[in-house]
Every structure is written in structure tokens, then in C-alpha cells.
Symmetry: D2
Subunit: 350 residues, 4 copies
């Protein structure tokens, strides 16, 4: 999207052809000159074949075969449980990785996968797409430039219109690791490190959540190292649509992001003026996912660290995990930041 | 505003001629046929005299003298510390009372004042003006009618543009009792009783807050008895303006209130479209305060209980007090609701 | 509304108790200390009696009796055909007049009524309420202060939600004199004198308009003396609601007015975000009509010329009449401004 | 953008590398898999070379050389005066054409170019990009589906932020042919054929316009064959930004389009809330131009008539020309529609 200069396209494969994987594959196969889609993989043969045929690329049910194709990098969009192992395989094959979040459902597996990628010298970018969205990027740039002054409050909402199926919940890692993790990454990115989280939540919309030991609504408060306060609200069942909104209130200015139109049309009917509202993240973020993909390609092409790397993935995971603990134990959880060389200062929840 | 039927005006006095008192006096002296301003009182003679002369009514520096005028009720807008004693005096004189919140800075004094009013048979209305605002009233009516379905989340922001002076802070009762109390009342009114509060906060804008042992920013999370979640954010120093916004997310619909214009004009200048933003509550709530006054007059005229009475005042105070305790102790505070006859089921923080 | 200083209330009567008259009477009887409603009159005895009883004032079916009451001024809200004669009666009785627009359905009658008022030394204010609306007043003030620079374009929409009854149309003076006249006054007030009008129109919503020889939709373009361009669109049948919007585009800035909420609440339902829309002018302009009334009272009390006087009434009428002629003759109509002393420079359509 | 199916890319060349040509070339060279950019041409060698090198495609200063490359179609974005001749050359070479509007500055040249393209059997699509914009397309679809009912009023604004240079004006064909033509096409597309236009205008922002015998602001009213009314306002110097807004008011509903953000962020500073505003059409229409390009490619690939063809180009040109005549003669101009076989029923201004 961004550049009008023709660049060498980076050859990529996509593994995992669910909703996000399909979107990545479509983006890679015709919306940007920055990448070239070489092949796709999915464990379900029908899905792999039909996608490959539709996009006119090679297809396979084997991740190893995908890695063996002439690709420079892979996009991993499989269920979370498979992420870490696939990162390790890709690293062993010398292929760069853009992996959906989280890297794994436990810290050890995450760290091991990250270390394998690091020692193999491959890039590892994590799928926090919001960092590439022009709206969030504009606000982050203003904050970094000091135009908001000292940040007092960070507030964000991430809400799904309706719940994913019970099957999805099972492997999701739970509400905080699956949903809040995006907001926790945004919080760190925009405002800085977080010292304490406190979470409340409930299963309000459907008994299936309680039966699965999971939540469908939660509120998390944050204390940043800077002293700033933060608050996140999340829902699996907002009803009206998908929402992803952020506010940052500072001493000099306050910024708000909250655009949710598909088409920018106002409809006037007797006594009412209305606009539409997006249903899901694919409707809200067509550009962000494309820019994320182009960012990954540029990091490979020009050999620099991805904008959202392993440290960010770990930090957001640790915070999400601490939210779960806060919820279960009914108390604030403090994070301690220990600097361990160039690695992420892994926070330990106390 | 509301009725076009001429009614007998209720004769009122206003005590305490600061910003709110002046607004009440101005409303009572010419914006509604429902009341007649008889006199004003302020401890500072110059203020009392100039206001009385400007509005062409009697004036005094003595609350007893105000009560002795031919008034049916009084509006108490003095500093909080004086509220309870004045309510008791008014009750003894058989005069109805509309008192700014909170009734007192401790529970015992509040309860005693309320009991005096009750046994004297005078109305005691508390100044939660938002209940009279047409925007909030419309949403509350929809919730009550079931149009939002089950409430999942209540979210509200109350923010001042800039801090009041240090002198004001001293007698304010602290941030939660002075500011959050409005949101806690709105939460109870719209969604129902609250079982637990957790507060975080900080003195971020000005060292004067820390020196006074007070806060300038806070976030409070709520657990409602219904299971619904709630979150309040408050600030003394939002910078951009006064904000009072509420969102209620339900299973069937979500409602948002957040109107902050003085004039409804969009200004377009090179590269920018802008609207104005109110500076304070007087600019945001001209109608709400007038309707509050008319509601008080109607309760006297037609002899019914005020829409926002002593029980509400106590409940909000107890919750605000629990927020302070949560903040100091760094933990959630549970409220227990004990039903004690017709009195408010005073919650005990555990 | 505005002042908090108590002033001597001006004693007024209201003649004609249709929708506008009822609103004036309600405003005069309890929403402002600036006036005192003394009596009401309507040709229909039931209407006069019930209104008088409800508002607790004298009532009559005779305008002469209303004038004979101890009133300083009268508000005339009868059908247009009666305006001029009633102004003359009021002038003969030495009573000030606030008359709904237009003064008459022909120029001679208008001029005669104006001259009677002038020679009797009574104020004659005309009901262009928009001049008193805070939104329009704010923009007009900015224009006057030069903040918009040179005006290039004036654009305005005035649309009714649905058509008034056929009975109303009959005495209305036709579409341009009944509807567009408001926009023509706003145009003159904000941008200045107009040299040429061109009108197109149609009877699109209901054959009743065509049968009555009238229109239900029209577009009028304007050439201002300054060179600026203008465009007005009007409708009797917008369907979605009452709309009154204005844009002024200048070399330095552009201003837009277009607020149409009853309550400032956003409703979110699956896939949609909506706000309400006002049904008619009473819902849009509660404050403007009250400020208009207070402006009339102030002009009487402090003895100055009303902000919207006879010259403005004549000018807008002449322009509206020229629109009708442009429509009928299918060509632009030029206005010539002849200065006749202190009187309005009556434009002659060429 | 739209399809996720890989299709055979259509090989294209771009001629004329000004602002629009550069945008087309950038779109063709990396934003869609539907086309492949083969070469670029510009009369200025430096421009041609640097663009070709940047996009890594062949470049030339000769249109004939561009046609001789292995292209299936060409995009013509040269100054208007060159369009018709280039269309004829392309037709002679058997290449499809997407040409910026208007085809020529006089009707005969337009008709001749169209006939050459038709007899050569090449597609001729005209650059009315708005037809491909998702906002306009959504409203057009609703109108076509009858959801707005009978259209009463079509209203549209097209305004540039600031004037193009004097050099641009010279070959532009004048204000109506260069600017209003877009709105006239939109009007026909959305509401239907137009029977009468009336234009007023002025040179208000800069004497250069008057010196060039041209305008910088105009208002055009329309009478549609259906009886509906229309109004267009255009400006070269809106100052605040580029605006392209449309409203269609119907008997059942009204639709409004008017989105002008670059980033969807609200900035709150003391007393003000603001959003940004686009500077020009490239900022407003990134998607529309890309969809236009994909539409052209699809018409070639699947061999159907372009959605915006020669008839539309002629019709809009005739209307724009009639606007100029109306302005010069100070009177409405009627259009007569004569059906001449499959050709456009060329309207004759009477």
C-alpha cells in the first residue's frame, strides 16, 4: 500500500487456512507487490487444495512440505497449540516467521520457540496487527513525539460481536490470553511497561463459557511503571458488532480511535439517523493486516528486526497470564521486570 | 421546562452562593415558574448582598434567618462539611431540603441528618443532577423497559477540565467521595446494587494532590449483584474539558451518552474539522439542574418522595468510601447489603 | 435563559393558539422571568378557555379584549392573513408586537402595517427565530468578526418531516413565502443583500400540492451583492424528520450548523449505530423561541429597535415573492435595492 | 481488493505521469494482482525515465512506443486536449482504453474518438472513479433497489482545497467541464436523465480565474426527467480541504455520503475536539481508483462493456457544456434526449 517503489517480492507460504490464514493468503496473493505467495498448507486436505487452486499456488497438508518450497518466510495461522512447534521447525529450516499471537499457551514453550528462532537467525514477528493500523500508528507517533504530554489514562475496548464456537474456546488459552493480549500489547506499545494488573470478569452471555471454565466479559485495570493508569474492557458478545477502540488521555491532549464503518454512509429514516458497524476484525482491519504483511516482508528484505518481535510477544503473554491469575485469586498481581541481557525482561507475577 | 401547565410556585431559599449555589439561585429566580426564589444566604456578606440585590430577593449571612423567611424549602450548596448540620436545622424548622452531595463526610453524621429529616417529615433530596438529565433519563428508561436486555457492562467517565484549588480539596472528602460518588449513584440507578469495588489511582498532574494525600486520577471497577461488570474513570485534570459520558452494554443493545458541545457548530479550517467542548458542569447541564429543581418543587407540591433521596445518598457514600479503602489497602472491597426495615440497607465493607 | 439578573417582567398577551402560539404562551408563562403572560386569545372559544385555564391567565376570543388587558405587547401567531390587520390594531392601541412571519401575503399590506406601527411608536419584531438560536448566532458572530474571511458560498436546508394539512396550505402564501422566507432572512443576516434569485421546484410527494397550485420541494440559488453564491433547498416532506442546516464557506474557514437530536444518545444494535432526529421546529428550537421572546421583552424594557424588525420582514418577503416569480417564469429574477430614507430599501423584481 | 481468486493479470501501460497518472501507475504496479504494469509514457523524458526506473518497467516519451509494448490496454491521464487523439491511436493499435474525463473539449472530437474505439472493438472506459467508490456504490444500490423510494432531491458538493495552477486552467475546458462533470455523471448514475440545468458562478478567490475567463465557485441546479430536483455546488478554493459529498433524499429514506478523514482519530485539546480532513482526491479515493482499475481489467478479461462507458462520457460532457451556456446566457438550458440507436441519445441544448 505504502510505497510506490517496486521492490523485490518476498516469497511466502501460509500455514493454517482458517479465517485469518485465508485473509493472509488473499493479501499475499494480489493486494501487494511486496510479497509473492508461493504455497499454502492446511491439515485438512480439502481446504488446502481448494485454497491453492483458487489462488493458483502450490498446496500441501504438510508444514514440512511448505517449508521445503522455495519460500523465504511463512505465516503461521494455525490453532495456538501448534504455534511453538511450527516456529521451531521453521527456524530449523531457516525460514522467517510471522506468527499469530500467542506463541504458546505456556511461557516455557514460548521462550524455547523464541530462542530457537533467535539462534537460527530467522526473523520472528508476532501478529499484533493493530501496531500497523494507520489510526493507532498516528496516535503512537503523537505520543512518542510528546504531543500528548504525560499520559494519565489509557483506555481500550476490544469486543467481539458474538462468541466463537465452543471448539474454538477449548484451544484458545482462555479469555485473557486470547483477547486481552491484544490490548495489553497496545498498552505497552503506546504507554510503556506495566507493573500491576487487576482483573474482574464473568460469564454473562452464555452458560457455555462457565462450563468451559472461561469468561465472556472482563475488565482489567493497569498500573504503568510511569504511574499512568489503564483500563481494558473485553467482551465475546457485544452484540452490536466488533469494536476496537482506544483512548489515551494526556496532560496536553487526548486522542481517541474508534472507527467502525464498512461504508461511510448515513442513512436517514423517520426519526433516525444511522450508520453501519463492522462485524469482525476482517472488516475493521483490511489495511492493518496488509501493512503487517508488508512490514514482515520489509524486515526480511532489508534485514532488520520486526517492529513487533519476540519480546513483545512474551511481555503480552506474561501480562495476559497475570490477568488470569488476578481474576482467579481476586487480587492485584504485580509484575517484576528483570533485565536479562538482550532478552525480554521476563516479568514474574508476585 | 417540562410542563406547560401553570402550577403554584414553591417558595425556596438558597444557602451557599458558590458556583453551584449561584446556578441554583439563577435557575430559581427566572427560568421556571415552578419555584419562587425568596432569599439567599452566604457566610460572606458581600456575596450574599450582591447576589440578593442582583436577583432582587432578601439576603442574609445567617442560615437561621433564611429558614425564618417564608420559604417552603431550601437548597444547600455550602461546603460539604456544613451539610449535615444545616439539614438538621432545616428539619427542625420544618423546611424541605435539596442538598448537594454528599450529605456528610462520615456515615454517622449522614445517617443522623437523614433521620432528623425523616422524623421531621421534611423531604430530603440529594443533588445527583444526572438523574434528571434527559440523556441519562432516556437510557435509564430503556434499561428499565428491558430494551437493552441483560446488562453486561456499565462504563462511565467523569472528568474535570482542571483541578479546583487546594482550598477546595481540603473539605471535599477526597477524590472518591467528591467525584466518583456521582458515577456510583448513576451505576446503582441504571444497573442496580453493587457487591464489590476495586480502585486504583494516582496523583499525576500536580504534586499538590499528593501533598494533600489525595488523587487526581482513578479507575474503579464494579461487580454488580446481577453479575454485570462496571468501570468508572475519573480525573481532576482531563485538560481538554469537562466530560461526563456513560455507556451501558447489554445483550440486546448498547447505549452511549457523551454530548459535550456548547454550540452545535462544526468549524472547518485547513486540514481540520472541529467542534467545541464544554468547560464544566454548568455548561454541560443547564437543563439537568433546572429539571432537578423542578423535581424538588414537584415533590413538595404533590407530597411524594424525591426521586433521589436519602437512601441513594447513603448508598453512594458507602460505595465511595469503599473505593477509598480499596485504594488504600490495594484490594477489592466487598459490600454486604443488610436490609434494615425501611432504611437503606447500609452496606458494610468487608 | 441568559441573564441571571432579575429584571422587570414585560406583560404580554398571545393571540392565536395554534402550535406556535401555544409554545409562545408556555414559554411566556413559566420559562423566563423576563416576561409575564397576562392573557391569551383565540377565535375558537374552547381553545382560548382551555389554554387560559391551564396557564391560569385571562382568556378571550377577541383580539381587542386582549389588547385592552394590561399588556405592554402582544405576540401574534394567527394565520398569516390576519397578521397585518392585527398589527394595525395593536399599533392603534399602543401595544408592541412580535408577529410571526410573514407580515402579510402582499407587499402593500405589509408596508401599511409597518408604517402604522412605526408612526404609533410601537416595536414591531418579526418571528425569524433562527436569529436567536445560539448555533446560528455563533456563526453570524464569527462572520461579522471576519473569521470566515470572504464568504464564497451560503448553503442552507429547511425541510419539514411531513406536509401540513391542505387547510394550512391555503392561507400560507405558498411555499416560498411560507418556508423559504426563513432561509432568505438567514441569508441576508449572515451574508448580506441579495441581487438575484432563481428557483426550481416541484410537487413530488403528494398530488394535493399540485392541486393547490403549490410546491413541496424547491431549490433556490442566490447571488449576493458581494458576489457570493447561495443555495437553499426546501421540502415539505423530507420524511426522516425536520431539518434546518446551514453552511457558510469562506476564504478562511467554513462553518456548519446541523444539530437535530432530541436526546444525545447513541443506540447500538446489531450492525448499526443510530441517533434520533427531531420531528419539528418545536423540538429543534426550544431555546431559540425562548431567546426570541426575551429579546422582544428586552427591546421593550430598554427601548431599542428589535434585532429583527420590519425592514428584515419586508426584505425577506420581497425575496420570497421573487422566488415565486422566478419559478413561474422559469428565469432568474433580479432585485433592485432603492434606498428610501430610513425605510427598507424595497427591492423591485425586474 | 475485492476478489481473493487469482486471475490472469491484464497487461497495461500508463500514459501521462502527472498526479493521476502516477497514482494509476502505482496502483497498477503493486496494489492488485488484477493487472500488470508493462510500461509508462510521458512527454517529459525525466518524468518518464524516473517513473519507469522506480517502478521497474519500460518507459518512453512516445505514446506509439507505449502502444507497441506488449500491452492489452492503456490508461490515458494526459492533459484533456490530447485525450481524443490518443484514444484514436490506441483504437487503431487494438488496445483497450481507460481515459480520464473528459474525452475532449468539444462534442465532435468526443464522438469521433468514441466511434473509432467502437469500430475497432476496443473497450473505452471513462474515469468517473466515484462510480467505483464503495460509499457511492452502496447508495446507488439502495436507490436501484427502491429503498429510498421516489427521489425528491439530489445534492452534491465537489470542492478542491486550493486552486490548481494557472497553467492547468488553460487546458481544462473550464470549470463545468473540468469539475462539475463528475457531479453530473453521479447525478445521472444515481437519479437518471436530466432535462434542465441552471448555473450561477463567480471568480471569488483569485483574480486569475476572472482573467482566464473562468470561475472558481459555482452552483448548478438540475431538473431530472423524473421530476426530481438536483443541486451541485463546486469550488476550486474551499480552503479547509477536498470535499466530495452527496445526499439523496427520497420518499422512504435519505442517504448521505461525506467521509473525509485520513486517519480516524479524534484529537481533544483544551475546549476543542477535532479530526483531520483530506487534502485532495488521492487521499479521499485510494480504494475507488484501485477498484476502477480492477473494473477496467475485468471488462477486458471477461469481455464485457465497462461500467462507465462512452455514452456516460458524452452525456456528462453535454450537460457540463450546457452548464457553461446557462452561466453565460443567464438562463436555464433544456436538454433534449434523442434516441439514436445504440448510441447515446445526445442531448441538444435548447
Amino acid at each position: 500500500m505504502g510505497s510506490s517503489e517496486r521492490v523485490r517480492p518476498i516469497r511466502l507460504g501460509v500455514a493454517g487456512l482458517g479465517r485469518i490464514g485465508q485473509m493472509h493468503a488473499a493479501n499475499a496473493s494480489g493486494r501487494t507487490g511486496a510479497v509473492e505467495l508461493v504455497g499454502v498448507a492446511d491439515a485438512v486436505e480439502d481446504v488446502a487444495r481448494s485454497t491453492g487452486e483458487r489462488l493458483d499456488v502450490a498446496w500441501t497438508t504438510s508444514f514440512d512440505e511448505l517449508l521445503a518450497m522455495d519460500v523465504e518466510g511463512v505465516l503461521i495461522a494455525t490453532p495456538t497449540g501448534a504455534h511453538a512447534g511450527m516456529i521451531e521447525c521453521a527456524a530449523a529450516a531457516g525460514k522467517h516467521v510471522l506468527c499469530e499471537k500467542p506463541i504458546a499457551l505456556d511461557l516455557d514453550a514460548s521462550v524455547r520457540a523464541i530462542e530457537r528462532a533467535r539462534s537460527a537467525g530467522v526473523k520472528l514477528q508476532v501478529g499484533f496487527h493493530r501496531r500497523f493500523d494507520p489510526d493507532w500508528a498516528a496516535v503512537a507517533a503523537k505520543i512518542a513525539a510528546g504531543e500528548l504530554g504525560d499520559v494519565y489514562l489509557f483506555r481500550t475496548s476490544l469486543r467481539d460481536k458474538r462468541s466463537p464456537g465452543a471448539g474454538y474456546l477449548e484451544g484458545s488459552g482462555g479469555f485473557f490470553v486470547d483477547v486481552s493480549i491484544h490490548d495489553l500489547d497496545t498498552a505497552r506499545w503506546m504507554v510503556g511497561e506495566i507493573d500491576e494488573v487487576t482483573a474482574i470478569g464473568g460469564a454473562l452471555s452464555d452458560p457455555a463459557f462457565a462450563e468451559a471454565g472461561d469468561l465472556d466479559n472482563a475488565v482489567v485495570t493497569l498500573r504503568f511503571t510511569s504511574g499512568a493508569l489503564g483500563v481494558i474492557d473485553n467482551s465475546r458478545a457485544a452484540g452490536y458488532g466488533y469494536e476496537c477502540s482506544t483512548e489515551v488521555m494526556g496532560s496536553l491532549a487526548t486522542a481517541r480511535i474508534g472507527y467502525h464503518r464498512r461504508v461511510n454512509v448515513e442513512w436517514l429514516t423517520p426519526g433516525s439517523q444511522s450508520v453501519d458497524w463492522v462485524n469482525d476484525f476482517t472488516e475493521r482491519y483490511p489495511d492493518a493486516y496488509l501493512l503487517e504483511l508488508e512490514g514482515f516482508a520489509a524486515a526480511i528484505r532489508d534485514d532488520y528486526e520486526p517492529a513487533v518481535g519476540a519480546d513483545d510477544a512474551l511481555a503480552a503473554f506474561v501480562l495476559a497470564d497475570a490477568c488470569g491469575r488476578s481474576f482467579r485469586e481476586g487480587r492485584p498481581i504485580r509484575l517484576e521486570h528483570e533485565n536479562r541481557g538482550r532478552e525480554y525482561e521476563i516479568a514474574t507475577a508476585r
